[in-house]
Symmetry: C2
Subunit: 699 residues, 2 copies
């Protein structure tokens, strides 16, 4: 049926009655908007004369059965150009240029009189467009059945993809031709994850990274996801057509909106140089400016935590007791027998505070501090945790006093286990509790299936929830690091206190044997397109069998773990390993202690998705530079051209390199550290082991 | 399929291996519990030797496919008796006796080892029983597919019923044989109501009032509905078997629970005298005692309001402007042009405050005071109203000052239009706003379909919501009057600040030509079994054509409207008509001004469901008595035996009677008022017109 419709659409589009052309500021990209003879709106995109997106349909279908993607007439067009520079609160670059040309199109559906506007913005590095529904008397409230947006590709591109799922983005990335997605999907779907809501058709998630046979790198995603569900992409793998597949609620409804409304931007970042994809600020540029007036309290955070110990199999755990018959608000934990393996106890947290203070970290994350972990039965149980009551062995007041005395703060943890309506009931008092006890940041979690039971993680209702948490937290001067939320779309420009997200397979999956050596060479091209990731790197002891029965081994050398602090941009960076492991390798640990996580400027020096990435960055407000290079399972020599350094000066580079015999699977902890005098004319050749990396700090 | 199962069950039950008998304190009722040969738990009930409920199945089915209503063995039984007296905060009687015998049964399912307890309480006026799920290692979290509880009736009883619907209880009551329900249901379902979620099978709502051919009055309902969905009753109309049909969520799941849990009580009130049904306190007795420590702030409330004018068709309305493109939080109402018909304006509210003060009312309800009424599009729109921002022409501070100066308070109105998650987000600030501006009571509203979109009005999630509102309001010393909520089950004993509910067809339906003359002779036997109703009587001008185009006429004489203040018990009573109409009939209005709404004692003097009710009550703490008698469309003479008066004293009775020529449809406003000296030996004969009534006050 889908195929039939698409074929029919292709015929409709063939006769275009009116067309408008938009050219990128540098002239390399060209976008054409048109209306077919039957009034179907469509667009196409070329890059240096090569087709990126063939003529593709635009519009909607509404419920119950309103077609809103044909029968339009053009009533107005406007062309504009804008060239501005803005400063993010935290970022990869101090200044971001937003230079684009804009085409605004006003349409009217002849049969209904309903109005639809389209706004296209063409940058040197890609296209963004969105739908705008003006206030109008005859169309006021709408339920969207589907968005008709297509992305008609030119061929069977190589794709870096996750299967579409409305409840999770924690699949491993598969690299394959688009024509192979179908045969590989069922295998990928076997992945055991806490919640699954597979799309009902062949479909993939965004950000979708593509590489065409004629050498174009194409990234499809969205920007400014506000009051709308996440867009997945249905795949017609015979015609290589992607089309919007919005995350529904469980009743099958996709968007509820009221006219006077805009959709998120659909984004296509494109270049013949993979580095331009990583350097792109297109998605940030399409988000609204910062809405927080005073941002002085939003700061980069480097932290350690009582966290990784829960994954390695050494016995430490979130819960306090073995009793699972817990009722929050009724159970008196002081009367229960503790099992003695509770990680978040006052003494242990103090050790981490001491460690953080000694090594210059800003903060300590503590998971498992609050009541409820014994019986957090997702979806079944609505009241699972207290957000204001600590376990008996976690002394909130004493830890606040102690941390403050050491110049360190604690990061709050709010696991909701997706009991979201309940979290919203307690959000204000939870944030007030944080204010009272000096917690300026919270890690939120959304493991499992959602309550309200009509909702999926990626649907409109939950998108509104995540955004509401960020906005509400801003009122309390709280930074948010959300885990298992919908993937980001640059909204951290608007609410920069939403400092990072997980929303992909992070380091925790290393403890489930879940990540491959190429994982972190792909993430910057996919998940990170929308915003920073709390990937939690820094695992030095990659052989988990040292703790007990867990046989997992890290998919990375120790040095690659260092390089990730540069290649995986985030203003929130964890040193995730147990402190004992850092104490064993103080020289390598020095890089983590030194590395910045907020930047004046970044240089993407080498990049190929799935293969390698080399990035250098200048620390914000400091004459210090840091570089990271990583590779997949193949050894490689990274080339670090230091021409970004100020000319005519000498600097000292400290180079952290894989040992000659290093490899991710055989000898991950082999490394060498050396220093070298460098100038802007220096070109460093850095050998990377299989699954390895290199890290460089320059002063 | 259902029929087949029931027939199969009947066979299973025929061989009972163990039986326990419980007798009511007065010996008139007998309940037998047993286990069939295949371990199916069952019960039966007789009244004075007549069967009320034949052997009926007990138990559950769980999801995905666990049968938990057979294969049980008896592991323990306990018999108890209790005889206590308690005092409700507000009520029909100052003292309530709770005298019951109890049978506790502990069962174990042999195949699974899972435990199930049953608790039966037999009173002189009926039976209550509930399921109890003890904490157990092997059963912790459960999704209920269906409760197996049956009520096997002895024949084709006369029933006063509403068709089962998970979203509304605002159907008119139909009186018919059970065998006629099927053929009448589709007609009743045509009723236009704001939300509809019809049960998928032939089924009726509770409280269900039945009358058997052998003269038994049987009422089936439930008590203490907490963390559980409302029970409807599937009807097998060939075998006259009712079986529990729990309100599901939209995914079809019915209850999520964790062991260490009890179901609500299933209640069967029974007598051969209809008056005993109305006099029963069984449902209150099965609820938990009051959980509010200081109840001094919970008071009976007699009020007027800016409300009825919105229904009569005279133009006055909730909204402030004709602009429907409202976005709460963004729209600046001060910049919109008012349409000039907004009821809740300061001047008009002051007029009602003056009227309330002059005539001794406690309070003024004001609907339409807050932003959002122009575009309250249920289900589509989640953010519909502000709960803290008044329209520009409603001066919150000035009205607070003015009302306080007159010794009157304002009743807050929180219409949610069923956007419930949004209401929960703002509930605390809304209650804080009420505290700040001196509002001690709130009328809540749940018109339309629910958001979260997984939920129905009668489901577990919403039941928890209504109860949460009552509990949270108690923390703020706020009384709650909920409209369109699930019907009550006596929980106002536990949270007496939940002072009244609508949850049935109230007076507003008179403006839609929706109530029949017998309506109020049925409601006390159905809706009111669970608790007081904010019926909003007191309409003197029953011909709505006087206001404009509305052709509706009241189904009652003017005097019957007076009688309702006595026959429809509620500690919250409205004088619902426009003040101008009361000013026209000051002598009749005097009864409304005088009548109490909290009582030392009540006497049900005459009663037949669907035909007539005569009740007398003594005002709490006062030597004043009030009586009301009502009839259906047939004229009648009510007999008011005053033997409840203290003997040997003389009192003055003021009698409000229908005029000789009065009738609900021809001459509703004809009335006579006279006074008479009476003693405890007086028996008044009160003529009631068709659709009429009589009201008496005695000092």
């Amino acid at each position: 049926m889908k195929t039939f419709l698409l074929t029919a659409a292709a015929l409709l589009l063939s006769l275009t009655v009116s067309a408008q052309t938009l050219t990128s500021p540098d002239g390399n990209l060209e976008m054409v908007f048109g209306l077919s003879e039957t009034g179907v709106p469509h667009y196409s995109l070329t890059c240096k004369g090569k087709s990126v997106i063939n003529e593709s349909r635009l519009g909607y279908t509404f419920k119950p059965a309103y077609v809103f993607d044909e029968g339009f007439e053009l009533i107005d067009t406007e062309f504009n150009e804008s060239d501005t520079v803005w400063q993010p609160v935290l970022g990869e670059n101090k200044d971001i240029r937003d230079h684009h040309k804009e085409l605004f199109v006003a349409l009217r559906q002849k049969s209904t009189g309903w109005l639809l506007n389209l706004r296209f913005r063409l940058f040197d590095d890609g296209l963004g467009f969105r739908y705008e529904f003006p206030v109008q008397d005859e169309l006021r409230h709408v339920i969207v059945k589907e968005e008709s947006t297509e992305f008609r590709l030119t061929g069977d591109h190589k794709a870096f993809w996750l299967p579409a799922d409305f409840d999770t983005n924690e699949f491993p990335t598969t690299t394959s031709k688009l024509s192979e997605v179908d045969s590989l999907t069922s295998e990928v779907r076997k992945e055991v994850l806490a919640a699954h809501a597979p799309a009902p058709c062949l479909a993939v998630q965004t950000p979708l990274m593509l590489k065409s046979e004629d050498g174009l790198y194409i990234n499809i995603h969205e920007a400014a996801l506000v009051n709308y569900p996440a867009m997945h992409l249905a795949l017609d793998d015979r015609n290589f057509v992607l089309s919007a597949l919005l995350a529904p609620n469980r009743n099958g409804d996709k968007v509820f909106f009221q006219t006077g409304y805009t959709s998120p931007w659909r984004t296509i970042v494109v270049s013949d140089d993979a580095r331009d994809i990583l350097a792109s600020n297109l998605i940030l540029n399409l988000n609204e400016p910062c809405k927080i007036e005073d941002t002085s309290w939003i700061k980069p955070v480097k932290y350690v935590g009582v966290w990784w110990e829960y994954f390695v199999g050494g016995g430490s755990t979130w819960s306090y007791t073995d009793n699972q018959d817990i009722i929050i608000g009724q159970t008196d934990y002081t009367k229960l027998k503790p099992h003695g393996r509770h990680g978040a106890n006052t003494r242990h947290v103090k050790d981490y505070i001491d460690f953080a203070a000694e090594h210059g970290f800003d903060a300590v994350l503590v998971e498992g501090w609050n009541e409820g972990w014994e019986d957090n039965f997702a979806y079944h149980k609505e009241v699972m945790y207290s957000f204001t009551k600590a376990y008996p062995d976690f002394d909130v007041e004493e830890l606040q006093r102690y941390a403050a005395s050491k110049g360190v703060f604690l990061i709050m943890h709010h696991e909701t286990t997706s009991s979201v309506a309940e979290y919203e009931r307690h959000m204000h008092e939870a944030f007030q509790f944080m204010n009272r006890y000096g917690y300026p940041a919270v890690k939120t979690g959304y493991v499992g299936r959602i309550i309200p039971r009509s909702e999926y993680h990626d649907g409109q209702w939950m998108v509104n929830h995540y955004n509401r948490v960020a906005r509400t937290a801003a009122d309390y001067h709280i930074m948010v690091n959300s885990h298992e939320a919908v993937r980001p779309t640059g909204y951290s420009r608007t609410y920069p206190n939403w400092i990072a997200q997980e929303s992909a397979r992070g380091t925790e999956f290393e403890s489930f044997k879940g990540n491959r050596p190429d994982h972190c060479t792909i993430l910057p091209f996919t998940r990170l397109m929308g915003g920073p990731m709390d990937y939690t790197p820094g695992i030095f002891e990659g052989d988990l069998s040292v703790y007990g029965s867990n046989k997992a081994k890290l998919s990375s050398t120790l040095v690659k773990q260092l390089a990730l602090y540069v290649t995986m941009y985030s203003p929130l960076q964890m040193a995730a390993d147990l402190k004992e492991n850092y104490e064993k390798y103080p020289d390598a640990f020095q890089f983590i202690k030194d590395v910045a996580c907020d930047w004046d400027q970044s240089w993407i020096l080498e990049a190929e998705p799935g293969d390698y990435i080399t990035i250098a960055r200048k620390a914000k407000g400091q004459d210090e530079w840091f570089a990271g290079a990583i590779t997949d399972e193949n050894a490689r020599t990274a080339t670090l051209d230091l021409s970004f350094l100020p000319a005519g000066k000498k600097f000292t580079a400290t180079i952290y390199a894989d040992g000659k015999d290093a490899s991710w699977n055989e000898n991950p902890k082999s490394y060498r550290i050396c220093t070298k005098k460098v100038t802007s004319k220096t070109v460093l050749k850095l050998p990377l082991a299989p699954g390895g990396g290199a890290a460089v700090s320059i002063k």
